[in-house]
């Protein structure tokens, strides 16, 4: 059993008691809600005549269903409009802080909470969304929950949970050029498998994570769930504190000093005991691309799609399913795979630094003929800042569309969808069958820089080669 880790310390501090089932009743410090998984929870509250116990500790926004082109109300999609009205009404009825479209602070829930300083080290954070693990980047214990649990948090600010084990994932060394946080997490999932993390919280440690900025750390923690781990975190350090300082909800004045002192105290102890430790070397990580239908089916961009014989027995059935669905041939290089659509955005890679990096490669280039490429900023603040820096112009000139913030084609609940068996190069997090809005649509996950490379070449390309050309006279 783990001892002295940040996970243990934060868990113990938030434990209200032990329930008859043996589960812990855990206090939730910050609860985030959005329009898709909350309406039924409020309906359950009403049915039971319950109130929201700590309305100040829930924050709402809209992201999943919002259109990224025409946001005029009522929405063209009447079902989406109905969901908008439900969350507007619920926020009003229960006195919940709500960042609506046009507030200047709306966006993907996992983008807006960190950018406003709502997400802080040492908190427990829950949201009816599996990518809540993102917030672990700050040294918070953050995890996704279902709608009945959203109801539980609204009614009691607590959840019934069993404690997780803690696996330390250590990555050391400097990332080679063209290799990003996204590649690191895709590599980890490839190596540990999509269910390797079930029952675990992942603690990301080592010099590679230490030298990442907060947005890169969020990309890593975000995809913990793709590796089966409900939650992933990084111990807070000076990078964390510098990011938080001055943000809307960050402590101010004297409280700031106390906060930093406390945040330092919840870091995993030097002699902390983990249930498991795995180590990787940053130098061995390549720009990574998925070729299949699970996020674990990833390879370096210079590798070939693995043949069934080269895979462990347990992975062969799903590989066969993937060859068939993806219409890709095992044994052929992933590089050069023709694509139709390029998507930059999502809670994994829709933050300012992602857009800056992508713009660096898009500057002065052109999206290849016949490719639809678009950029969806993660939040209104990201969009605003990007426009201030002129990133929108760089993208537009290169042939990308520049959209309004939201989840967009990460899950395609809005009008942004693949058609038929189109294949997308996507900076999002899931390549499941049908994930991007068409039952036969195909998704290749990669970093935003790699998406730009794909857009420019019209096929999966190595961003390192694009970079070489950029610096040539």
């Amino acid at each position: 059993m783990s001892k002295g880790t940040l996970f243990d310390k934060v868990w113990d501090l938030h434990a209200v008691g032990t329930l008859p089932s043996g589960q812990t009743q855990l206090f939730i410090g910050l609860h985030l809600i959005h329009e898709v998984t909350s309406p039924q929870a409020f309906a359950m509250l009403r049915e039971r005549g319950l109130k929201v116990l700590f309305p100040d500790r829930t924050v709402a926004t809209v992201d999943h269903i919002v259109p990224t082109e025409n946001q005029a109300r009522p929405f063209v999609d009447s079902l989406a409009e109905e969901m908008m009205q439900a969350i507007e009404q619920n926020a009003k009825d229960y006195g919940i802080r709500f960042y609506n479209i046009g507030s200047g602070s709306q966006g993907i829930v996992h983008v807006i909470a960190p950018e406003q300083g709502l997400t802080q080290p040492g908190m427990t954070i829950a949201c009816g969304d599996s990518h809540t693990s993102t917030h672990g980047a700050f040294g918070a214990i953050a995890f996704g929950i279902g709608t009945s649990q959203v109801r539980d948090v609204l009614a009691s600010q607590t959840l019934a949970l069993s404690k997780l084990k803690v696996r330390k994932i250590e990555v050391n060394g400097e990332l080679p050029p063209g290799v990003y946080a996204k590649d690191v997490i895709l590599h980890i999932i490839r190596k540990l498998g999509v269910k390797g993390g079930v029952g675990y919280a992942y603690e990301y440690a080592g010099t590679t994570f230490e030298s990442m900025n907060m947005e890169e750390r969020m990309t890593v923690c975000n995809m913990s769930i793709e590796g089966g781990a409900r939650c992933g975190y990084i111990n807070p350090d000076e990078v964390t504190f510098a990011y938080l300082k001055g943000r809307d909800f960050a402590p101010k004045g004297e409280a700031w000093d106390k906060a930093v002192e406390w945040w330092k105290s919840i870091r995993s102890d030097e002699d902390a005991v983990h249930d498991d430790v795995v180590t990787f070397d940053a130098a061995e990580i390549e720009p990574t691309v998925t070729w299949g239908i699970t996020p674990g089916q990833g390879i370096g961009v210079s590798e070939v799609i693995p043949t069934a014989e080269t895979l462990p027995e347990s992975e062969r059935a799903i590989a066969q399913e993937a060859y068939h669905y993806m219409k890709l041939t095992p044994g052929t290089p992933i590089k050069g795979t023709k694509i139709d659509v390029c998507f930059i955005g999502s809670c994994t890679n829709g933050r300012l630094s992602d857009l800056r990096e992508a713009a660096k490669f898009a500057r002065g280039k052109k999206v290849a003929e016949g490719i639809k490429a678009f950029v969806v900023p993660g939040s209104e603040r990201v969009k605003q800042q990007a426009e201030t820096e002129g990133l929108d112009l760089i993208f537009r000139e290169a042939g990308f569309e520049w959209r309004e913030p939201g989840c967009s084609m990460c899950l395609a609940m809005n009008p942004d969808k693949l058609q038929g068996d189109q294949i997308s190069a996507s900076s999002s997090n899931r390549n499941f069958k049908g994930r991007q809005g068409s039952a036969t649509g195909r998704t290749l996950l990669m970093s935003p820089a790699m998406v730009v490379a794909a857009a420019v070449k019209g096929e999966v390309a190595d961003v390192r080669e694009l970079a070489k050309k950029s610096v040539a006279p």
């Binding site: 599996s130 279902g146 019934a160 079930v198 406390w262 049908g434």
Partner: protein, 202 residues
Amino acid sequence: MNQVQQISGRGVPVIGNDIDTDRIIPARFLRCVTFEGLGKQAFADDRVQASGQHPFDLPQYQGANILVVNGNFGCGSSREHAPQALAKWGIQAIVGESFAEIFFGNCISIGVPCVTATPETVQQLQKLLQEDPQVSMTVDLEAMEVHCGDFPASVSMDEGLRQMLVTGTWDNCGQLINYVEQIKATASKLPYLHWDPATASY
């Protein structure tokens, strides 16, 4: 809440590892403010692709109430719409090799037990259900056994959660709100609630 002790009826096998919640209920069906009507959409895209051959469409499995699945079932999105869709289709219990965590918790929250069995057992159950879809099947949470015709096997589940289902105390919400004093006491110890002016009074 009702006691969930024994689920008897017929089984339906859905074969494959890593079946995610996007496949169980595609995102476009999440455009709703209630869970009503989701049953018809369970596995919607898989069913179209299987052109009528998906177990959820085959006539011989209509009316089945026990789902038999393989590894990492329910991975991906946290959407409770997934277990809700299965439950509304008629599923009352799930036997599998392993389950994704959030999906598992969501099932318990709505009183649908997920029990695990060895891969050999699960594959045997799936074979039996393919050979004879009408065979009677039982998941017994008291004996922690599954029976499929004459084939018995033991299954497992966290003991505390099993107790909750068997004794009809699986409604977390009802229990959690019993401890408001303790909840407030815990809140008062949290440093970060004190430096947030909105919550300093907790």
